[in-house]
Symmetry: C2
Subunit: 216 residues, 2 copies
DNA sequence: GCGTTAACATACTCGCGAGTATATTATCGA
DNA sequence: TCGATAATATACTCGCGAGTATGTTAACGC
């Protein structure tokens, strides 16, 4: 047994992302203002000073944490744009399930609440999140709808921009609120039902009516 | 000219609502954490001590301010449930316009961002807002959709719960984000187009398909 | 092995704002 | 008109946590 044990390690490469992930998690749990940098440091096993070695301010830490999350989150989503076979409806169903299904929607919800919380305090973070997150999200869906319009699968007079926006943000908000289902029972709903029903409603709204088809 | 002018008035009846309205406005502008009670007091022409004469804590002030807003906001919305003539579609269009149209959606957006900001700090306020605001909002719409299903105007297999939820929260979030259109230009959109297109998309999604009608 | 320095820790400052204790004064009732 | 007291102002406390200044040590290059 070594009398003098190694008390801490140098981890210049892993530290930053360790800190970013802990930061996002704890910020989301307790809120930005209620989280002390010491808490984040402790969660990683270091102290506050270390944070300031890598990040200049609490605000920057948050911004970088959000960036760090978006980097990974959007890869599987943008993939669906490469699917060219089969009806667009199926691609849309797949897209919505990938974006909001499974466990990761948990993080997404929590991040949504977090950034809204700092919208007035740190608007830059909120803007950044808006552009890299939701806007990208609905632009992908809008593209898919446009494709369906071009192929005749969807009504030509459908407003794809609005349809994409409302669908995506509706799901985002509903799922975010699920975090608070305890304490507000009337908010709770099954996530899969929410996603699937929404997809079907959207597709039904986009499908050409019989009348319009007859005209063509 | 009176040598000794009246420097302040006693207004035991008006003060509370004056304070509540100023509080909601300033909280929304600057965020809950960034707002000092002294600022709210100053906006009304009093000092911090006066606030503590009427409200026991900053948290209570926020809660009461949200309540105070909801009291007035939902009256015109619940009225539409009494409209029994004409197609349900028209009632739904009217409802969405009343809920989100005009200037008051401004307040609604700002309030939405505000309460999300305190979701982790002061969950009670958030829960309260959720139940009295959004939940009530989508329950009204769900009722209308159910009525349309009963009358055969809408598809019998439509998921009115999910349709109402996603439509309402989608609009809420989109309109809330409009507050930040400056600084994030790709978010900006015309509010009326947003509301009208959403209404048409929803109604198109609810209308029976020709096939289903033929079966009946 | 042995400086050197980057990666950490430790110990402070410092301002801010919620809450409180206390002083002042407007106004009502008798 | 004169207490009495509710409505307001004033002046403080006090804890908290971001940021900083300065130590300490792990690990790499030579």
């Amino acid at each position: 047994m070594t009398a003098k044990m190694l008390r801490w390690e140098r981890r210049p490469d892993e530290r930053p992302s360790e800190l970013l992930e802990a930061a996002l998690r704890i910020f989301a749990e307790r809120g930005y203002a209620n989280t002390r940098l010491e808490d984040i440091a402790a969660a990683v096993g270091v102290t506050k000073g270390t944070i300031y070695h890598y990040f200049s301010t609490k605000e920057e830490l948050l911004l970088r944490a959000v960036e760090h999350y978006h980097e990974r989150a959007f890869q599987p989503l943008e993939e669906v744009l490469h699917i060219k076979s089969g009806p667009v409806s199926s691609v849309i169903r797949l897209y919505l399930r990938r974006a909001f299904g499974q466990l990761d929607s948990n993080r997404l919800s929590v991040l949504t609440l977090l950034v809204h919380g700092v919208a007035q305090e740190v608007p830059e973070v909120f803007h950044h999140w808006l552009e890299r997150g939701p806007v990208r999200g609905w632009q992908i869906l809008a593209q898919l709808i446009e494709r369906g319009k071009a192929s005749g699968e969807f009504r030509a007079d459908a407003d794809s921009e609005v349809a994409a926006r409302v669908t995506m943000s509706g799901l985002v908000l509903q799922l975010a609120w699920q975090q608070y289902a305890v304490g507000a029972p009337s908010v709770a709903i099954d996530a899969d039902q929410l996603i699937d029903s929404t997809a079907e409603l959207l597709l039904a709204g986009l499908r050409p009516s019989r009348a319009a088809t007859a005209n063509a």
